[in-house]
Symmetry: C2
Subunit: 343 residues, 2 copies
Amino acid sequence: MSETTRTNRRIVLAERPRGAPTPASFRLEETPAPVPAEGEALLRTLYLSLDPYMRGRMSDAPSYAPPAALGEAMPGGAVCRVEASRHPDYRPGDLVLAYSGWQDYAVSNGADLMKLDPALPRPSYALGVLGMPGLTAYGGLLDIGAPQPGETLVTAAATGAVGSVVGQLGKLKGCRVVGVAGGAEKCRYAVDELGFDACVDHRLPGLPERLAAACPQGVDIYWENVGGAVLDAVLPLLNPKARIPVCGLIAHYNAETLPPGPDRIPMLMGMILRRRLHVQGFIVFSEYGDRYPEFLREMSAWVRDGAVKYREDVVDGLERAPEAFMGLLEGRNFGKLVVRVSE
Amino acid sequence: MSETTRTNRRIVLAERPRGAPTPASFRLEETPAPVPAEGEALLRTLYLSLDPYMRGRMSDAPSYAPPAALGEAMPGGAVCRVEASRHPDYRPGDLVLAYSGWQDYAVSNGADLMKLDPALPRPSYALGVLGMPGLTAYGGLLDIGAPQPGETLVTAAATGAVGSVVGQLGKLKGCRVVGVAGGAEKCRYAVDELGFDACVDHRLPGLPERLAAACPQGVDIYWENVGGAVLDAVLPLLNPKARIPVCGLIAHYNAETLPPGPDRIPMLMGMILRRRLHVQGFIVFSEYGDRYPEFLREMSAWVRDGAVKYREDVVDGLERAPEAFMGLLEGRNFGKLVVRVSE
């Protein structure tokens, strides 16, 4: 097949969603695959990563990264195979991590590429436990969370790409680890497979009481990746000098308006003051990019020897990415969500 | 005068205020002065410190310190002179810092006492720039605020005991320093005497716009000691990786209810996430007590050579402490508020 006959399917941002994304937010297009210029490589997407942060890119509200452009392929990280290359550092067949978006093909000048270690358990792990979500958990927990033996760590989205690693790192550091997850199956998995001390189902009534019962010594670290009712349940349990790494707020990503009052900012600030809380946001590669080699070495060993377990939720076919992404925002995935785009 | 004939005037907590304290919250009592037992010293209060944190002690809501007891002297730090002593380390005439409360006399076993350096510019400075408020500014700003040359620092209560020191330390560290204060006279003082680059009057309309104009490079450090409208004006100006040491929330101390909605916690948490803010509370002696000697050495030198200026608002007479304290919560003081109880 010559380069000119390749067809590139791509999923573009059709309109900026108000509230939850819908099928109308996306559009599947077919265009000729791009042709690499001198100094570029042609990439074939094997696995596309779907992550909550992408909801932010669909909006044009100010954020730390520019929004996705209307009519352009949705952005995202992917594991790709080099199909053709006019770049001296890449050869056909190389596996790379690229920021190439929701599409079959892309060209790159190499600036966004990282060659993948052929010894990876699976190439798609570079999108999860051994990639951005893993480094997020590693950097944010060890730096801001600063877990100490005997402390209690709570993480929501306990079986997700980040929360599952946060909790297992907490166990490695000697913490009591309590997860929050949606549904009995995820909660069982967190305890039985991931080794959490307890996991509370946020879909059942009485979350504050059940979380309190699971944290008899209070909470020293709350890994914030959801917000909403989970944050509300955690706040009264926070011990003096508790740390809250703020990694995500998935409960609010689809919200168009703020919840009804009263305005509880004075309550939250008062709690930060009186309990001497440390609340801090971070962006993984800005803050912890320089720890990537150390992370990769340590995490690879933990994955290899089973100290950190990792579960993927693999969806087949690029065309199913929008549906899978909408489900991610509702917690319908079970494990790190990836789309298998091609073999 | 024999010890048994001394009369102790003391101001006790008469009732826990709902909302702002009123004269009925306090009661002036006269009792016989206590008599020191073996191992104790009798203290005569010279200067009583009035500080915003005392509002918290008047409530029995859970906090980091136990509440003041009904019918007992209001708690507080004071500069005292040893009148009589059965303690081997203290002699009559010694000047000490004590946590002896709103009264003329107290006894102490020494556990809460610190001898004052006779070289102090004035003994009352031990209640302000060279005492708890100064250490609050020094520890919180240098540790959590971590000021860097060229950054913009905003502090509210700019002419108060803590804010004035925070701003001047910010200048010593090379920051652009913008104060927020109530009234033209305080704002002039902050710029002309304390050397702030600008100071914005929060009593005039348009605080958000005027603060934005005074911070053309945004805000890197916000010293939070008020909350309310000042926090609201600062939030949109915060730069990525801004730090917010949470020292106090005087705008809310008298509030019985939360402000009307919507609930802006998701907005604040979203801002912490996207702008990678570091928001942290602290309690001065718990966190920075071990830095007291270093603080005292550095700050004494700055005060001596005029690098840090310090203004006291001295009220005469213990009986005026309630009125002065009520004014403090409304920003009526101008400088560190102390009560001269005796000569």
